[in-house]
Symmetry: C2
Subunit: 236 residues, 2 copies
């Protein structure tokens, strides 16, 4: 695999928020999971397990349980651009992949390092591998972040997942409905901002940190409100 093809795949992968109802063929689903299986992990601990849900009723229950707490969460974070959230649309994806991590495998890691971080980083990498593999088939994915005690308990209960597992993300998988995404006005600024990346010269320092590239708190605030997909000013 050459570099140019890989970079093209990295650029092609993005988060999709609307899915067609077309099913994902079983052999493609398995190939996507197979790629995730070969991910690297801290100490080669392989903490990941994947619960694949395609049953319509179960998908609905998952979505409902997550979004039931939304009113309270939205109130607590009024400047968040909630249109970006994948969670309310999870049940429309033909496949949901619930990514769990076995906390007991933290015993693999050197005791002086934060085991929780290494576990979560390993899980994120397996999700990214899965997403790149999906993109190679023209499939759409997204990151639905769990990572709250409330959400994790609910998902574990719904799917019979033992307590030793953390529920890190749910990854919806399906064919992208780009028309539907385009027709949603609230998603327009998200789409526009999603492909933006800071220039290489701004993020690379040679031999030591270059203070000429340091961003003031003001600049950071400006960046967050003009470039990220979660903080977008409302047009009145």
């Amino acid at each position: 695999m050459n570099y140019d093809d890989f970079l093209e795949l990295v650029k092609k992968r993005r988060s999709f928020r609307r899915f067609k109802s077309d099913p994902v063929p079983k052999e493609i689903l398995e190939k996507v999971l197979e790629a995730a299986r070969h991910s690297p992990s801290a100490g080669n601990s392989q903490p990941w397990e994947f619960v694949v849900v395609q049953d319509v009723a179960t998908k609905k229950s998952i979505t409902q349980s997550i979004t039931s707490g939304y009113k309270k969460i939205r109130k607590a974070d009024p400047t968040m651009y909630w249109a970006v959230a994948v969670q309310p649309h999870l049940s429309t994806a033909p496949v949901l992949i619930i990514v769990c991590g076995d906390r007991r495998l933290q015993e693999t890691y050197p005791v002086h390092l934060p085991g929780e971080v290494l576990l979560r980083q390993s899980l994120a990498i397996s999700i990214y591998t899965l997403q790149l593999a999906a993109a190679s088939f023209g499939l759409a994915t997204a990151w639905a972040t769990m990572q709250t005690e409330l959400r994790e308990v609910q998902i574990r209960k719904l799917l019979g997942i033992p307590d030793v597992y953390t529920v890190d993300h749910i990854v919806p998988l399906g064919y992208p409905d780009e028309e539907k995404e385009k027709s949603d006005k609230a998603l327009r600024p998200v789409r526009e901002r999603a492909s933006f990346r800071r220039e290489l010269a701004e993020i690379v320092h040679y031999e030591h940190y270059d203070m000429g590239k340091f961003r003031s708190d003001e600049k950071i605030k400006e960046f967050i409100w003009s470039k990220t997909v979660t903080r977008i000013p409302r047009i009145k």
Copy 2:
């Protein structure tokens, strides 16, 4: 980019612990960083910055500062298989990439989620993209985990990195010295274990968690001591 080529790249990438002294051409180094730049991140926050160190004296100072605390750390974790550690060999790689994350960008993330986790997961993904791009050129990389207050403070001081940054990992980059790696007996079990992955049937559950696949604490312990690269019994 097709799936088979991508999977081949995923399998080809592994952590290398011995490097040839041959320099990495500047245009390849920049391509590797360019790939990392296009990684996804929570909220598109792009928290990553990379300090690229090639100066021999600076590489030595970094390595010395990290390994100076080794005696104490090794004593605190006597069952860790320390031969796997990349840190003592960092100065032999032609390039060190210090991966920093700007903590202020956590304001991008929804307040109900753990910002530190999302930041660290975003950084891990950028490192993985960088490593896959490096592998596409036949280059070797590894993960040297920082993530302790002591190490982070030392690295920040050495390279003039402001306090707002976390130092997540150092990634050595260079051409692999496979002969040297093979001749190191202590690395043999690491090499043998590094490519092992659990079977797909063991890690995938359909519709709900399958308790038939649950591993007892005993089985987890057995797995850690027979399959991971950090816990390897000493042969007497």
